[in-house]
Amino acid sequence: MNKIALFSILFFALAQFSYAEDQIVINDAWVREVPPGTSVSAVYMTIENKGEHDKLVSLSSEIAESAELHTSKVDENGVATMEMIKILDIPSDTTVELEPGGMHVMLLGLKESLVGKEVVNLKLVFDKAGVVVVEVPVKKTGHMDHQHHH
């Protein structure tokens, strides 16, 4: 009886996890490599919700003290600001894009430099789909390639 209960619980728990994997699909994730000493960076990705209406409720990463969802805005005068998004609604059957100049996950208080790192882990928590962990490759951008000589 105990064994059955234990097995059922395990099965149920695993089912929850795979449910999360099926419902939410993360693609094209990447994080900006930033200069050593800079404590913030941005993560971009597409979030596809194949299931029912869901919400992204929290984010975290071992490499940073905290992770928050922000969106960049530039007004008609050219003034750029950022707004924090506490909860992101993701309707059923839609794909949300996090890209430069728009929404991004801001990593705050980087505990180590991203320079030379291959990947960082990002944990996304969804209201229905639960926890999704993404391995995010570090991308060098804006860094002048010194091999390219004129």
Binding site: V40, N77, G78, A80, M84, L107, L108, T141, G142
Partner: protein, 202 residues
């Protein structure tokens, strides 16, 4: 028969109006882009300034009077827009090839509190050793931003980053004769087009 004729005339008038509208739009847009420059023509005097660079040295705008200066304002705690602009600047410099020697990219912080000389020293060379990052006292920064019509403000946000900065993110192109000639907003960040503008000027 009469009805059809009236109809045709009305269509004809409509077409004429549309054509006229098209011409007006074309002239208006052309005036804005002025003989084929990608950036927006600004044509204001570039006021002199002296700030401190990432080596701790005093740097003035007049130090670059024989170069085209690409000036923009930002802060190092900016995760999205400023790194993007840095990247565009690097691509512009790459596009220019040998002519890049005649161009100077200058970054001015709107966050002198956190962006000290030491901070800039670890930030700027990462993007490009030839770029210059400038900081100063809050008063000095305030004056330069004001002279250049660059709005900026501290946003106390409910975020563990402490505070974020809102700031004008346009890139200003200053010609060797001390004029802010062109202005590039965030939707005009194509490196190839910016480089083409610079080549026209040099």
């Amino acid at each position: 028969m009469k009805r059809r004729n009236v109809f045709k005339i009305l269509i004809g008038i409509l077409v004429l109006i549309l054509l006229l509208w098209g011409v007006i739009l074309y002239v208006y847009l052309d005036h804005n882009t002025k003989s084929g420059y990608y950036g927006m023509v600004y044509e204001r005097e570039a006021p002199e300034f002296t700030l401190t660079d990432q080596e701790g040295a005093k740097v003035s705008l007049s130090d670059f009077k024989d170069k085209v200066v690409l000036l923009f304002f930002g802060y190092t705690y900016c995760p999205d827009i400023c790194p993007m602009t840095m990247s565009v600047m690097n691509n512009v410099v790459d596009q220019l090839g040998d002519k890049a020697d005649q161009v100077q990219v200058v970054f001015v912080t709107v966050d002198p509190q956190r962006d000290t000389v030491k901070k800039l020293k670890s930030y700027i060379p990462y993007y490009n050793e030839n770029f210059i990052g400038l900081t100063g006292t809050p008063q000095e920064i305030d004056k330069v931003a004001d002279d250049y019509n660059i709005f900026y403000s501290k946003e106390e946000v409910e975020s563990s980053s402490g505070y974020l900065m809102g700031h004008n993110s346009s890139v200003l192109l200053i010609t060797p004769d001390g004029e802010i000639f062109l202005r590039y907003s965030q939707n005009k960040m194509d490196p190839v087009s910016i480089a083409a503008d610079i080549e026209k000027i040099l």
